[in-house]
Symmetry: C2
Subunit: 142 residues, 2 copies
């Protein structure tokens, strides 16, 4: 489910955050799905519970999950993060366009690239639906 890459220079907690962010945005994890407990995931990944806790706090701050004391952590609905995420990624997209122009790439080429990429997504439908679910309400991990 969650893998840690020790070759990666980024801190572990950041990798955990990023991984869950992907799973949630792509729809692999749905609203109110339960995610592993701090302790369970820590054992699973052979790292310290505090590191997972830090990751979960960050995910909560970003609006991706909510916490119920004594019960666990659960995935928030799209309305809690979709707008912010879209704004952010849109900003990244614009920055890329500016840089490509600076690098001498033609505007038409950029637009074409994007159009091609959009079509590719439409055909492949991304990997969200294919991935299936992971840990639904009530089906707690063994």
């Amino acid at each position: 489910m969650i893998q840690i890459n020790y070759q990666d220079k980024r801190p572990i907690y950041e990798q955990v955050v990023e991984r869950f962010r992907q799973l949630i945005v792509k729809g692999v994890l749905s609203e109110d799905d339960k995610i592993p407990s701090v302790r369970n995931l820590a054992i699973d990944l052979s790292i310290n519970p505090n590191t997972i806790q830090k990751a979960y706090q960050e995910l909560e701050r970003l609006g991706f999950i909510y916490t119920v004391k004594g019960r666990g952590n659960f995935v928030c609905g799209r309305d809690r993060w979709m707008e912010d995420e879209t704004t952010e990624v849109l900003q990244q997209l614009k920055t890329c366009v500016h840089e490509l122009i600076s690098l001498g790439m033609q505007g038409d080429g950029i637009v074409d690239t994007v159009r091609t990429e959009v079509k590719k997504c439409a055909n492949g439908k991304d990997d969200a639906a294919a991935a299936g679910d992971y840990n639904r309400k009530g089906s707690d991990a063994t």
Copy 2:
């Protein structure tokens, strides 16, 4: 020329690298332009020469500058970095597109956004030409 933002969480040497990258990509610094010496820039920014050295080594590794022992550091030609940079930014662009699709944005909307941004660049012509040059061959800093 180069400013350091101490509010920024990124290390100083990384900020220096990023700033020079921008100046070079945008054409403010041209091929064979001389950039400040390790010691001069260190004094200028009130930081340690070793930090600048680290930044310059990274810039050389990335192909943005070349070093001549005893003379200084100079900007490389576009051919040394343009291809790699374009490939990298293009990859970022595609990732953004995929994420926006996952976030539920319509493909048409994405393409429109890009087209609009391209036009904006075409009108403003970015800020490359406006910035002028900084430190040409032979005009060493005082």
